[in-house]
């Protein structure tokens, strides 16, 4: 009996990501969820700009490549064109979603657009060579902050889930990570819920996944996963930031 194999919604090609990059794990989780919900034929993914720009080569569903940061805007158009049949998700990194695409993200959330966003937060610009991102931690050494990020000069990191949770709009916001087996299973549950919310017509669902970038953090893959535990989770606490349907049940 096969216990574990590559999901059908992930095309059988080698991924271009660096060794130890957790993008691969998150790609697989999204593909597994698409398989389990049986929505491969009607799913449309929106690829971002960044390391995951070539996500369109990996998912076995229709994909659209959006201009930098504009994935939620493209997703809005695709979803509104045929809201009954399409399941639309965007897969965006922190440079895409939290920097250049912040306006699109906030307004899609405020409109409670019925789309699913998978937000990969690795606290650095990976594709362009490790520059400081809006999500880089205070004191974090990057190419453009060689002495560590100084909040006096560069400001403080943007906590996307906390910020969006203040809006009336969004249905579901959760932050998860994939640095060990338990957290991977939890991340899959969150991603599945985000897709299910869209199928049920509930509205805007965003799952923020804390991800490792061993190459640009200058660490081994093992140490990078440890760094998520030691440094990232204390600054970006995991958990559900907003779940309107659960709030309704409580009342």
């Amino acid at each position: 009996m096969v216990v574990f194999d590559k999901p059908h919604a992930l095309i059988d090609v080698p991924l271009h990501y660096c060794p130890g990059c957790t993008h691969g794990i998150i790609h697989r989780l999204v593909a597994e969820v698409i398989d389990e919900l049986g929505i491969e034929g009607r799913t449309i993914g929106i690829a971002p700009v960044g390391c995951s720009v070539m996500a369109y080569n990996y998912f076995n569903c229709d994909m659209i490549e959006a201009a930098h940061g504009r994935a939620p805007a493209v997703a809005t158009g695709v979803k509104r064109a045929d809201p009954e049949n399409h399941v639309v998700f965007t897969y965006q990194g922190d440079g895409d979603l939290a920097s250049i695409g912040m306006a699109e993200t906030v307004h899609a959330a405020a409109r409670n657009e019925n789309i699913t966003i998978i937000f990969i937060n690795n606290a650095i610009y990976g594709m362009t060579g490790g520059q400081m991102a809006p999500t880089s931690l205070p004191g974090q050494v990057t190419q453009t902050s060689p002495y560590g990020r100084d909040p006096k000069v560069c400001g403080y990191p943007i906590k996307v889930c906390e910020m969006l949770s203040e809006l009336e709009g969004p249905e579901y916001l959760e932050r998860v990570t994939v640095n060990n087996v338990k957290n991977v299973k939890n991340a899959k549950r969150a991603i599945k819920k985000a897709f299910q919310n869209q199928i049920d017509g509930k509205g805007f669902s965003l799952v923020e996944v804390l991800s490792a970038c061993p190459t640009n953090w200058g660490m081994t893959p093992e140490k990078a996963l440890q760094w998520i535990d030691d440094k990232m989770i204390p600054y970006y606490p995991l958990g559900v930031y907003k779940d309107r349907s659960a709030e309704k049940e409580d009342k």
């Binding site: 080698p14 060794p19 691969g24 060990n180 087996v181 081994t220």
Partner: protein, 68 residues
Amino acid sequence: MAKLTFKTDNCKGCGLCVNACPKHLLRIAPDKINKKGHHPAEITDQEACIGCAFCATMCPDCIIKVER
């Protein structure tokens, strides 16, 4: 008995599976090199594998197939 199958040529030798194995059965093969030029992961003792699929869960490149 559990059986692991590796798509060795897609392995990047990151070692995340090695750390995930609760039985410490996996290693990065020091004497092998795959098509990509990485040392691939391999299992040292197939008989002792319990088929928990923790290695496959942590593998970013989805190269491990687990059968039980």
